[in-house]
């Protein structure tokens, strides 16, 4: 393990340590907010597997998130608490199935077309829940009683926090292991140069499809947690705005790094909170979109590699141009 790798591991460990301490210091609201953010982090990680891990830009990730959420609510019994042991796998499975279907078809296209086909399939899911009574139409439906897992009641803020926390770590570790496995390396190979992979007689399609399905499943897991947290679902969970937001999260954090998705989710939520804050911006907080928009634009201009790349950028400043050139080469190689 190189020096760099160690610092990364320490960094990630520090995040999870901080998250483990947080509920003991924060208010109930803070705990709630961090839970939401961790759910988004899981969601962002699912997309990172596609975008950063495989080079597939999916603009319809919200569909899988939403399907997970809707499944959780639709399969919950009306008056008794549902069982997490049943609902969670069910939500993950339905999301994975839809991802398998979407992936099987959309992976025939490439580049911008892939972006748009995934969007189209997400819009389909959106209109199905929006226009039919299946999921309560526009106003959505409710989960009247939160599910339980043995003695753990997910209706409890703290319990939900810890379950989300554990699942976030599980997803993170799973993806980290995956990326180091033979499968992960194959995906990386596809990202770097799919042509070459195919030219050497390697069939890329099943690998991409597997990645797409896994990604959908993880998004479904995020959706499940979101539904349990809110106790309500509505079609906006599948809207292209949410697909866009989660893309923004991972780009903001830094594509190509699992911790980028983590950082991005937190940074995005934090930015929103910041610009919405009446305490800081007064009356102008009404126009919080303006601040958020300008920050996003600035981050593209100043942080091409996302927040993850920030220490590297500072380092370059200190070390001068020689290193910068070398690093750029590295990035180019990674991208190529």
């Amino acid at each position: 393990m190189t020096n760099n790798d160690t610092s990364k591991s320490v960094f990630v460990a520090a995040i999870f340590a901080a998250l483990a301490i947080y509920p003991f210091t924060g208010s109930e609201f803070g705990t709630d907010l961090v839970t939401t953010t961790m759910v988004f982090a899981i969601f962002a990680l699912s997309l990172e597997l596609l975008v950063g891990g495989t080079g597939l830009v999916c603009f319809g990730q919200a569909a899988f998130f939403g399907i997970g959420a809707y499944s959780a609510v639709l399969l919950s019994p009306q008056y008794d608490p549902g069982s997490v042991a049943i609902l969670l796998p069910a939500a993950v499975l339905t999301a994975a199935l839809y991802a398998l279907f979407v992936g099987a078809l959309s992976l025939r296209t490439k580049g911008v077309y892939f972006i748009m086909v995934t969007l189209a399939f997400a819009q389909m899911a959106y209109f199905v829940v929006h226009d039919t009574s299946l999921g309560g139409g526009t106003d959505g439906i409710y989960m009247t009683v939160k599910p339980t897992l043995g003695a753990i009641d997910l209706g409890d803020t703290q319990a939900l926090y810890w379950v989300t926390y554990v699942l976030l770590i599980a997803v993170f570790v799973f993806l980290a292991v995956l990326s180091r496995s033979r499968f992960g390396r194959a995906l990386a190979g596809i990202r770097v140069n799919e042509q070459r992979m195919r030219a050497t007689g390697f069939s890329t399609y099943p690998y991409k499809l597997a990645a797409f399905t896994i990604s959908g499943a993880i998004a479904g897991l995020g959706g499940f947690l979101f539904a349990v947290k809110d106790g309500a679902v509505n079609p906006e969970l599948m809207s292209w705005h949410l697909s866009g937001s989660v893309l923004v999260m991972i780009i903001l954090g830094g594509i190509g790094h699992l911790r980028g998705a983590l950082i991005g989710a937190f940074a995005f939520v934090l930015l929103e909170e910041l610009f919405k804050s009446e305490a800081i911006f007064g009356e102008f907080s009404k126009h919080w979109h303006l601040g958020l928009g300008m920050t996003i634009i600035a981050s593209v201009a100043l942080l091409p590699r996302g927040l993850v790349g920030l220490p590297g950028q500072w380092g370059q400043h200190l070390l001068g141009r020689a290193t910068r050139r070398a690093e750029d080469m590295e990035v180019q190689n990674a991208k190529a």
Binding site: F11, V12, A14, I15, A18, L19, Y22, T25, G26, S27, E28, F29, G30, D32, L33, V34, T36, T37, F127, H130, D131, G137, T138, D139, G140, Y142, K229, D230, G231, A232, N234, E236, L237, S239, H241, L242, R259, L262, I263, F266, A267, L270, E273, L274, K276, S277, E278, A279, S285, K286, H287, W288, H289, L307, L310, P311
Partner: protein, 386 residues
């Protein structure tokens, strides 16, 4: 780097709890209204109306000073639960007021029901808020989607129309309004032959207008609001249908949109619990005060905001400013007669206004009262168990 973020994160969350810690003696009102997006103007009107009443009372309701905490709900239901919780848990508001969008209001009602926080809905007409979602601590100062629809159904049947076509966006508010219309219209001998729907928020109506022309009904009933309402009214007129088939609708079709609709709206009849020229002393006083305070003319949304504040005032007075006495708060409102600019109204058992629904006609740039379409109309509150 990440650590600093977590640190900042913790700090912000912590700081916000500290900054917003409850000041003694004040009642905190959480205004969860749209500040961005399609409904932003409506949010402003509601807030203005609410503040106007509070200011008229010297900033105090029920003997306690009122403090506002505002939050932009973005009219996004997927963020609604978090936003409502934020006001309740972070800002410790005593009362939640909001909102315009039905889906968001439903999520707020759910949170209010779970946490027992007082909620006053100043617009969203979703039937369910005072139906299956009804609760002791949930009130509405506006209307249910069913009400204007039902009133127009009666009025249309009374006019002798026999065959109607309805058209709306494919979303809950529209469907509920159409259901109200259909119920009354068919009970009184009419028949709705076609129920046309446009995918939300699509505003390309031409194909369905052609359908209407083909089926030649006696009347067309519609539920549209905002930009969709403007476009529909203009398209209806420019397709020549206005001259042969009268267009009627729930009042939002011509409320806040008359400037944009211009002459194309002239003569359209709608039903709503408010109109531009009621001419009552109560309404005149309200309109004058509003115009003075905000340099603009009030609309139905401002009235609903104003009445939401009145309702809060009545409740708070009854419990001497002690918001924890939910049962007494509710009991006082259930008995109260609310002196609204729209005309006095009472609350149903499900806490929805029992109110006169006016029949209005567009004349000049105003929705003028023609008469009362339904007197003291109460929402049936289907599914409410309280």
């Amino acid at each position: 780097m990440k650590k600093t973020y977590i640190g900042m994160f913790a700090a912000t969350a912590l700081a916000s709890t500290v900054t917003f810690a409850q000041a003694p003696g004040k009642v905190k009102v959480g205004l969860m209204l749209p500040a961005t997006g399609t409904y932003a103007a409506l949010g402003t009107a509601i807030e203005n109306g609410f503040r106007l009443y509070v200011d008229e009372q010297g900033g105090k309701l029920g003997g306690r000073e009122i403090e506002f905490v505002k939050l932009d709900d973005e009219s996004d239901p997927s963020k609604a639960t978090d936003n409502a919780k934020k006001l309740i848990k972070r800002d410790n508001v005593d009362v939640l007021v909001g909102t315009v969008h039905s889906g968001v209001a439903m999520a707020m009602a759910k949170v209010a029901k779970d946490t027992g926080t007082l909620l006053i809905v100043p617009n969203a007409g979703a039937d369910a808020v005072t139906g299956p979602m009804c609760a002791q601590n949930i009130f509405r100062s506006s209307f249910s989607n069913w009400q204007p629809g039902f009133a127009m159904g009666e009025a249309a049947a009374k006019k002798g129309y026999k065959k109607a076509v309805t058209i709306t966006w494919k979303y809950a508010a529209g469907q509920e309004s159409i259901n109200g219309f259909k119920e009354a219209f068919e009970k009184n001998g009419g028949k709705v032959t076609d129920d046309l729907q446009v995918p939300f928020p699509n505003v390309e109506f031409q194909a369905l207008l052609t359908q209407i022309a083909a089926s030649k009904p006696d009347v067309v009933y519609t539920f549209f609001a905002g930009g969709g309402a403007v476009k529909f009214v203009k398209d209806y007129a420019s397709s020549g249908l206005k001259a042969t088939i009268p267009l009627v609708g729930a009042g939002f079709l011509t409320d806040g949109t008359l400037d944009a609709q211009g002459a194309d709206a002239e003569g359209i009849q709608t039903t709503l619990h408010y109109a531009d020229s009621l001419g009552t002393p109560r309404d005149n006083a309200f309109r004058l005060a509003y115009a003075k305070a905000f340099k603009s003319q009030p609309d139905v949304y401002a009235v609903q905001g104003y009445d939401a504040a009145q309702m809060l005032g009545i409740g708070l007075t009854a419990v001497n400013g002690d918001v924890s006495k939910k049962a007494e708060f509710a009991a006082a409102l259930e008995k109260a007669k609310i002196d609204s600019p729209r005309g006095a109204f009472t609350l149903s058992k499900a806490h929805n206004p029992i109110q006169d629904i006016y029949l209005r006609q567009v004349s000049g740039k105003e929705n003028k009262v023609v008469g009362i379409a339904s007197k003291a109309l109460a929402d049936p509150a289907r599914g409410c168990r309280m």
